[in-house]
Symmetry: C2
Subunit: 445 residues, 2 copies
């Protein structure tokens, strides 16, 4: 045949999710959703495509170049969303009266950026954000931290640290030092602390930003304060006396650490880190970063903060808020590296062999009984050799194979094969569901 075959391939920077990767991703997303929902955050969704003018100019020139933008069939200038924050701003402005304030939402969805893939970046990835908008109350900042805390706890991480800061503290210090007009330069340098170290940060503040060595030293001394949050915050209260901005930051952090402890969260997981600034313009209050104790090198896996005005480009209504974003891809890679991801490529636990064509209805009947008991079960679709069926089961990651033919049906029992230990047992039909439930519980950690 002379038919042309189109080579099946994906675009550079795009990828397929095969079952094992997708099962892990779905599980992670499910846990995030459950935690967000348990706190009363509601789901929303927005279109993949927006008018270009909605999305352009929101993240600077480099971001604009990365946007997938085109003219559609109706001659509209359209673009694919590159994050979930600009769509939230547009959404909140558009539906302001319908949704009411305060408004708590989570949004889990794909975004697209034509990034340089040589840096290991993908051009399509999923974001997983939650935000509380329409309130300046510190209670929302505190809740944001509790959400992050409970989320990582529920994901099964025993060791993680949420680093918290407040931009107002940094602003207060810069005000006290007479560096308020050089704030962006100072913070840009400070942000480099983990990468280039103390001395180079000071040198940069002096040479490029125009601070004195003494001023730079004071900024670094504050940024590097470590220890009990309460003790540091008491010290800051003295140091920042006279700066309303600085003292507001101190008071908000003080309430945050106190309340988080009262709420029963593990305070060892929450650290005051005065060195984090997270960029220059967007965040205006509390800032969060989350690091994994066993893999600190991969960077923050959940970051966010408080902002003063989400949607100023779309409405005159002022919309302050606070929120954070879970780094799904980074976190999945970490969980894989830490052995926290099961390598199955099927969500089912039990494979029922298709041994005898006359019993297909029986196999399906038992499969439905198992499902009703919460045990995902598959009937193999072809009456091929048992060896071939069990090979399929092992390759896919089924835990148990069950087999019955005329002889077993006559005797009222099943052959049950543990596909991990290779042990086999004969189990009476009436005990089958209970027996398999027990086996599955014992193979789960």
């Amino acid at each position: 045949m002379d038919r042309r075959i189109i080579k099946p391939s994906t675009l550079k920077g795009f990828r397929d999710y095969l079952p094992s990767a997708m099962i892990a991703r779905e599980k992670l997303i499910d846990t995030a959703r459950q935690v967000y929902r348990s706190y009363g955050f509601s789901p929303i969704d927005t279109p993949a495509l927006e008018f270009s003018e909605i999305l352009l100019g929101k993240g600077g020139e480099e971001s604009d170049r990365q946007i997938f933008r085109f003219i559609d069939q109706g001659d509209r200038d359209v673009a694919m969303r590159f994050d979930l924050t600009v769509p939230l701003a547009r959404f909140a402005a558009q539906h302001y009266h319908e949704i009411g304030m305060p408004f708590k939402r989570y949004h889990i969805g794909s975004v697209w950026r034509g990034e340089n893939t040589s840096r290991g970046r993908y051009r399509e990835f999923m974001q997983c954000d939650f935000d509380t908008i329409g309130t300046t109350s510190n209670a929302a900042d505190i809740e944001t931290l509790l959400v992050i805390h409970d989320l990582f706890d529920r994901l099964g991480f025993s060791k993680f640290t949420i680093r918290v800061n407040n931009r107002l503290v940094l602003n207060g210090l810069l005000e006290k030092l007479g560096l308020a007009d050089k704030a962006s330069g100072v913070l840009r340098s400070l942000d480099k602390l983990p990468k280039i170290g103390r001395d180079k940060v000071i040198a940069e503040m002096v040479e490029r930003v125009g601070a004195t060595a003494e001023q730079a030293g004071e900024v670094l001394s504050l940024a590097e304060l470590k220890g009990e949050p309460a003790a540091i915050l008491a010290k800051l209260e003295t140091q920042l006396a006279g700066s309303d901005v600085g003292l507001t930051g101190v008071a908000r952090l003080t309430e945050l650490f106190k309340t988080v402890a009262q709420a029963g969260a593990n305070t060892e997981r929450v650290e005051l880190d005065l060195s984090i600034a997270r960029g220059l313009d967007y965040y205006t209050g509390t800032i969060y970063e989350t690091f994994l104790g066993d893999l600190p090198g991969i960077g923050s896996v959940c970051s966010g903060g408080r902002y003063d005005n989400l949607a100023e480009l779309f409405t005159t209504q002022k919309l302050p808020g606070v929120g954070a974003s879970l780094g799904l891809d980074r976190l999945l890679a970490a969980m894989e590296e830490l052995g926290m991801v099961e390598a199955a490529s099927t969500p089912a636990k039990v494979l029922i062999a298709y041994f005898d064509a006359n019993h297909l209805g029986d196999y399906h009947r038992v499969a439905r009984e198992l499902r009703a008991a919460g045990i995902a079960s598959e009937v193999y679709p072809e009456a091929v050799s048992i060896g071939e069926q069990l090979k399929y089961a092992s390759r896919k990651g089924f835990k148990i194979g069950v087999i019955a033919g005329d002889r077993e049906f006559a005797a009222g029992h099943w052959q049950v094969k543990n596909l991990i230990t290779r042990e086999q047992a004969t189990v009476g039909t009436t005990e089958l569901v209970e027996h398999l439930s027990a086996m599955i519980s014992s193979t789960q950690s």
Copy 2:
């Protein structure tokens, strides 16, 4: 200030999902996923963007015109997926050896079509497909029907009908009648039966397709056979004697009805309908359509069938399969019309009032205890008046408000307000979780 405000709006044919709609959509998708997974279907995902040559020419000229297609930053000719079937074909061809056959997958994702919105169509919508590929076994066809059955059962529909047919039966009849060369015309007319009625279908078959009135009458007589599947199939076996194709169709349907009954499915929900053909070229065997007993007029809410070769454009490997697609948007609209959708715009049940700023930690502690007991709970973020907080709670659809200040903490109890009945009770702190659990169980149907 003279700043320009960008009007917040969505593109024609695109829409935002607000919380109440999104909560209903997530619930529906969750149920579908749970049922698919319980049968051993695995999730996959593919990119929103593909090379245009992968997607073009798969659904005819009209489909091609509807595709969102453009040249990306790297001068690639790219397009947004318009369904999940072509991506599955590309995926299966590309990962053939890695995924292994038979392969069962579900795929839930957005697709984009620049359709005429005047027909009430959206240009972005979600598909929810499941397929078994790499096998011609009738067991896969039977399982597909059981999945549809269990899915609608789990969604809470008491009345629904899955109509089943097999194209081989129709092909066998056309062969017997000497109409094999006119098959596509005959079936195109037959597909119009529910819309234009028997007489007009016959007239069309005679005038346009070139069948005799007698031939057309025989096709209609078969298509309109109603009754016990076993009786009809026995009759067909005689009628189609001599046509291997037709008898294979009869045998597969016979095994299907027998096995579905043995498997314990409700056979009143499964009907043999020899009039459904579902288009002309794609399906080659079993065909499924699903109708809601209380809303038959909205059409099929879950349709599918068996096909001979999924991925012939991408591989010389033959990939037969069978599957179906859940019509999410149509089904959601139906569930709303039938009062099956709860109109809450929060996933949380309990609002804990922020009554006294000194007790914020206590409110969060209790909220975390409730969450640990499976009760989604929100602490209101601002210490405004209780009236304002309860108004917020009622508007969002919370079921219960709980309130405590200094006096209640001293006395060791909470004020619990049922936001539906407006009843209020005083509940001891130690009984709070249990009391709220009981209240929530009793408000759920």
